[in-house]
Amino acid sequence: MSAPALALYPADFLPPTPARRLTLFRPDGARLAVQIHEPPPPRSTADRGSSPRTAVLVHGWTCSTTFWVRVLHRLTPHLRVVVYDQRGHGRSSPVPAGGFTPEALAADLAAVLEATVDSDGDSGGDGRPVVVAGHSMGAMALVALAGRHPDVLHRRVGAALLASTGVEQLMGRMTVLPHLGRPDSPAVEALARRTIGDARALHRLPLRLARASLVRATMSRTATPVERAFCTDIVLACPQRTYEGFAEMLGDLDLSADLPRLDVPTAVLVGTQDRLTPPWHARRMLAALPCPKGLVEVPGAGHMTPLTAPDAVAAAVRDLAERPA
């Protein structure tokens, strides 16, 4: 009798409802919106004794918890998952003055871990690591945490995934703009800074053009129309002040000194067509990591791997979660 449902969004893109929400108050006045997703209770009696393992997902610049929606759908049947909106993003509060720093991002992550994850680097007492997966600036927050809060790293984190990220020369290594000279030449870097960090200009563009520029920068040709729309909507929802504040931070960022202190098993994931943080970064990070656990290259994928390659990202997280510490 009833007509077929006229669903516009695939079920994969409908955010699951968290079991709990927390508001985390930071000393500098920022408030973080945190979600905790619980897996369904175990069916077999054998699994009942152990509590589920935890993954903490940290989104990147101009994104939000919504960005993880497809990965969440793949992880929540198996893991306890914590996601939060980084300062200035999503439902978290605007960034207080002076708050656009890697130190603040690292301290935020540390606070989220303290609030949601048991100490000893596991959540069930069975020696399974808590996995922190960071995408882009979220991964940078994790690297910054390794340099500044090693105690938190050692007590709470058992393994890490650095997805589509880099820790240095971010502007110079981008391949978003056509090549005008050597990748690390000052002219190219200056141009990248000017164009990439200008939120006002982006929002002044007609919507269609703004989307096209974002797709060009962050996605590859393989991205589907739904993925493109969803991704660009997330970026366009980012407040302009957040967008520009962190763009400036990223322009000067160099966390290469912190990378060797990320001494937990760490996997690196990158899309081969990533223009924002090209595979150059992935290989370089892998060489500097004290405890590398392999490089996952997603063929054809751009920068937004959790949206366009959720299977690969979720598999990498589960792989780390199931690896004995």
């Binding site: 009798m1 009833s2 006229l6 516009l8 955010p15 409802t17 939000s64 919504t66 909507d233």
Partner: protein, 507 residues
């Protein structure tokens, strides 16, 4: 009406003093009928008295949502707020000099058709009267639909408050409290923007996302109001323009559900403008054809959902726990106050459980067996001299209900005139006429958006039959209820005429 006991005989008894009851009282009194209105509430107003929740306002432009015989040039807003509409109704009653025709605080317990006396015997909690004609004007949205869910007692025992939107208590303060609003229909989307800034946390439990068009409510400037008052023709012009525009929607809903895509893109653009996060937007995007459920209008509902302290849970309410509500998907949210914006009993009207027709048959039983149906939405086989205002298949999803009410009241007026002229004491629709009418309705309902749109709604009864809506334009309904066609009725002359003539009475 404390202390007063009602006895005796009244030509016309009207049950209910809402928009329909007041309309019947005014029109029938003007036509020279002696009318008594029985209202169980403490005052006139119907839904506009009951729905006093914060933010309550009309969904139809006020110049259209008012009586044609009582134009009101003083509406403050395009969509007048509830207190103003209530005051308007009270003014209409006062201006028509009907105050002494209405008895508030009188509840009808039962009404029985007396086939010997050819009268209705109306038993109230303040005495019993008989009436030639009974007009039920109880409305389609008078009885709150309250879900019976586990854990309610434990929730209230733990200090939680539960209130239905149509039974709002003015002293309920949500400031700093955790509030759960159950539902995302017409009441909820008016309530949520009002409660969100005051509540500490607000959870909206949404079973089905509504289609929401921009409301663009605005104040009517004083100069415009003065012009309406000075030149009533301008107000009439606005009224008819609004009417004509809204009638266009019928085209899509009834005849070409595909045309509703135009409305959908309007709604989606509205959603896009107001909700930046595509995740929340996905949860708020309906998956059925617009019009299948009532199309809502709001400019402040979506922004309220963007707030940090507001969460949309895409699942209905399944039950309560002490200090918390539990959604059907297992989500548990702490709450001090639960607001049930769960709407009304629409397909099992409570008044039907109090009306007994020929042979003592209860209207509710008749409808349970044969489906809720009537002839021309107004009269029912087996129930002589009963007229239902806002009866089966007279609702609509696109325009002002007052249009329907006035059409039906005109039908009642004509019926009374006809009865008088023809010397008829009792009028009862023929079973064949009623069946033919409902067959026609059913044929017209096939293919409408309400049956093909892919949703379940309060328009449908438990079997998915649309028993509440009129499948067509209000013009068509007006035409269908202009005159009583006696060919559709069994007419009974007064009992005195049947009795053998008394000696000496004949010449």
């Amino acid at each position: 009406m404390r202390g007063e006991t009602l006895v005796g005989h009244v030509p016309v008894v009207v049950i209910g003093a809402g928009f329909a009851g007041v309309c019947a009282a005014v029109v029938l009194t003007r036509a020279g009928r002696d009318v008594l209105v029985l209202e169980r509430g403490a005052s006139v107003g119907g839904v506009w008295r009951d729905n006093a929740y914060p933010g309550c306002a009309c969904d139809v432009e006020s110049p259209l949502y008012s009586y044609s015989f009582a134009p009101n040039p003083t509406w403050s807003h395009v969509y007048a707020p509830q207190p103003e509409i209530l005051a308007y109704l009270q003014d209409v009653v006062r201006d028509a000099g009907l105050a002494d025709r209405i008895r508030c605080g009188v509840e009808v317990r039962r009404a029985d058709w007396d086939d010997d006396a050819l009268t209705w015997r109306v038993e109230t909690d303040h005495g019993t009267v008989t009436a030639d004609v009974l007009v039920s004007a109880c409305g389609g949205l008078s009885e709150p639909s309250v879900p019976q869910l586990p854990g309610l007692a434990a929730f209230t025992a733990a200090g939680g408050a539960v209130v239905h939107s149509a039974r709002w208590t003015p002293d309920l303060d949500v400031t700093g409290r955790r509030v759960a609003v159950v539902g995302s229909g017409a009441s909820a989307i008016q309530l949520v923007p009002q409660l969100a800034p005051r509540a500490a946390e607000l959870t909206v439990l949404q079973r089905t996302a509504p289609w929401i068009i921009p409301r663009r409510d605005r104040e009517i400037p004083a100069a415009r109001r003065a012009r309406f008052a000075r030149r009533p023709a301008t107000l009439r012009l606005v009224r008819w323009a609004l009417y004509a525009f809204r009638e266009l929607l019928v085209l899509g809903m009834v005849h070409r559900p595909g045309l509703m895509r135009g409305v959908e893109s309007l709604c989606r653009a509205h959603l896009r403008r107001q909700v930046p996060d595509p995740g929340l937007r996905a949860l708020l995007t309906p998956t059925y054809r617009a019009g299948c459920k009532r199309i809502l209008s709001s400019d402040d509902y979506y922004p309220a959902l963007n707030r940090e302290n507001v969460e949309l849970v895409p699942s209905g309410l399944a039950g309560f726990e002490p200090g918390a509500v539990v959604a059907a998907d297992g989500t548990r949210r702490e709450a001090d106050v639960v607001v049930l914006a769960t709407g009304f009993e629409t397909t099992d009207p409570p008044i039907a459980h109090h009306l007994r027709g020929r042979g003592g048959r209860l209207l509710a039983d008749v409808w349970r067996e044969g489906g809720m149906q009537a002839l021309r939405g107004t009269t029912v086989h087996g129930f002589p001299n009963l007229f239902l205002l806002v009866g089966p298949n007279t609702g609509q999803g696109h325009t002002s209900m007052v249009q329907i009410i006035e059409s039906q009241v005109a039908y009642v007026r004509d019926a009374l005139t006809t009865m008088e002229r023809r010397g008829v004491a009792a009028l009862e629709p023929l079973a064949e006429a009623q069946t033919a009418w409902n067959d026609r309705l059913a044929a017209r309902l096939r293919g409408t958006v309400w049956t093909t749109g892919g949703c379940s709604s309060w328009y449908q009864d438990g079997h998915g039959r649309v028993t509440t809506l009129w499948p067509g334009s209000t013009v068509r309904l007006r035409r269908a209820t202009r005159r009583v066609d006696l060919a559709e009725y069994r007419v009974t002359p007064p009992r005195a005429a049947l009795a053998p003539a008394a000696p000496g009475a004949s010449r």
